[in-house]
């Protein structure tokens, strides 16, 4: 496979984790501008675990996911009484707080004559896991895609269970949800925590692939892109955020003649969809309609 294509695809796969994590928060009716923080935390934890502690990649990624989930749970608990714009602002502040924390985090070690570990604004260099294990770009792509597919299988089985409909109900109409005996707080906390785990896991893969991470990578714009992908793609299914990622990174950023106009087209697309299709391309209604049509044909 062409190296350029493979790295674009890998990039798309990694950002898909971020978009899916934004999606999980949107499903329970909240907008988060802070998913990049969980992505960043996951990246730092996985990098530390593999490069500093020499952990196996599996444990490294798991630690990243758990780290992201813990931070998200903390944020969820702190904002338990907030919703709407107040929740959104809190997530933004929380994310910036974590980024500033990373800016001041210095914990370097010398391993084989190389300085590794988080070094403030300089970031975390020499995450050499893919070199040490002789991974090519395509090998890493395969690994990332496999992880994404596993995540999608989990999300799709969630989608088939009543849990997802309950979450959507909590997101759309908490009063209705309560009248059905659903506990909105529990749904919100679980989904925010899950979103942190997904972002943290993606961040871990991102760190391994990039071999160098720094706090500036996990700024607000990263989170806004992840959020926009979920909003554009639609909240009907986990396929939605993936479509959003594909449209922006796959088409606009990667097709070189278009890349210069990326932000113009992308911004226009967001504005267009918000007016004409506020629930995204793959909206919940569309998915519900397709599902019942499918069932009618096969029963």
């Amino acid at each position: 496979m062409d190296m350029y294509l493979a790295s674009v695809l890998t990039n798309m796969t990694l950002i898909a984790f971020l978009a899916l994590s934004a999606y999980l928060v949107l499903v329970v009716g909240e907008v988060s501008f802070g998913q990049q923080a969980f992505f960043g935390i996951g990246a730092y934890i996985t990098a530390s675990a593999t490069a500093l502690a020499g952990a196996h990649i599996f444990w490294g990624l798991l630690a990243g996911a758990i780290g992201g989930a813990s931070c998200a749970l903390l944020l969820g608990l702190l904002t338990i009484r907030l919703s709407g714009i107040y929740f959104a602002i809190s997530t933004l502040c929380f994310a910036e707080l974590l980024r500033f924390f990373l800016l001041h985090l210095r914990f370097t070690q010398s391993v084989d004559g190389r300085i590794i570990g988080p070094d403030g604004p300089e970031g975390f260099s020499n995450i050499r896991w893919i070199f040490e294990n002789h991974y090519q770009v395509t090998d890493f792509l395969l690994l990332a895609v496999t992880c994404l597919i596993i995540l999608l299988i989990v999300l799709f089985s969630l989608e088939r269970s009543p849990i997802m409909l309950g979450a959507r109900m909590v997101g759309n109409d908490p009063i209705l949800a309560q009248s059905q005996g659903l506990n909105p707080t529990r749904y919100r906390l679980s989904f925010i925590t899950l979103s942190g785990a997904v972002a943290g896991f993606g961040g871990g893969l991102f760190a391994l692939f990039n071999t160098h991470i720094e706090p500036a990578m996990f700024g607000v714009m990263l989170g806004i892109h992840g959020l926009a992908y979920a909003v554009i793609g639609g909240l009907g299914s986990a396929v939605g955020p993936l479509l959003g990622v594909f449209l922006d990174i796959g088409l606009l950023e990667s097709i070189r003649p278009l890349a210069a106009y990326r932000m113009i087209i992308f911004g226009g697309l967001v504005a267009f969809l918000l007016v004409f299709r506020p629930e995204g391309i793959i909206s919940p209604r569309l998915v519900s309609r397709l599902k019942s049509r499918w069932r009618n044909r096969h029963v």
Binding site: P162, L165, I175, Q178, S288, N296
Partner: protein, 217 residues
């Protein structure tokens, strides 16, 4: 046995409910009527956990629910409908009814109720594509699926013609079951006489006043 004892509620210094008490036995059918603004909706909201009373107790089978959140009321078997029917517009009716019936026994009950109500053909539609009389029935089915202790109906007649209301009443009578107590907040007396066995009137600052014998004869 479900009971409200000495419920009081005020908004901004104005007493809306003062020392309201109410006891419901299984299978009892009670109608509550009253002028606009005497606090009927407030009473429903308190009785179903959506508002917290300033004073008083709410008990269901010796379990105190007073300070529980609304979802705990629903889980304990206190179900309600809304004045304007309340559904998600992003999922079809069938999915939403299924969400209300999580236990296998509730699922069986739900299937039976759907059959009896003639809603099968509408299950794949979104609630905003379904006519109001059907939605009213659907809301009652959603409430009855889990075989609740008490079902509160908040103005079920709103927007229905006399004929539709009649059909709704017949459906309700046939499917309430022995266990479920019913409370209907309504203005339509013909409907109340059809489905309830006693009617109380809510009066400003006087609470619930029995309207039984004089109305029925």
């Amino acid at each position: 046995m479900y009971s409200l004892q000495g419920i009081g509620k005020s908004f901004g210094g104005i007493d809306v409910l003062r020392d309201i008490s109410l006891t419901l036995k299984p299978g009892q059918r009670l109608g509550i009527t009253g002028a606009n603004g005497v606090g009927k909706s407030t009473l429903i909201n308190i009785a179903t956990g959506f508002l917290k009373p300033d004073s008083g107790h709410i008990q269901l089978n010796n379990k105190t629910l007073t300070h529980q959140p609304a979802w705990a009321f629903a889980q304990a078997g206190i179900q309600r409908t809304f004045q304007n029917t309340r559904f998600l517009t992003t999922a079809n009716l069938g999915e939403q009814l299924l969400l209300a019936a999580r236990a296998p026994e509730s699922k069986r009950r739900l299937t039976k109720l759907i059959e009896l109500s003639g809603l099968q053909a509408s299950l794949h539609l979104f609630p905003d594509e379904i006519p109001l009389p059907m939605l009213r029935k659907a809301e009652v089915i959603r409430g009855l699926a889990a075989s609740p202790e008490v079902l509160f109906l908040d103005e079920p007649s709103a927007g229905l013609t006399t004929f539709e209301l009649d059909q709704f009443g017949v459906f309700l009578q046939q499917n309430l079951g022995q266990k479920t107590a019913l409370v209907v907040v309504e203005h339509r007396f013909d409907f109340m006489l059809m489905i309830t066995d006693s009617v109380v009137e809510m009066q400003l600052n006087r609470g619930l006043v029995k309207r039984g014998a004089d109305v029925k004869t």
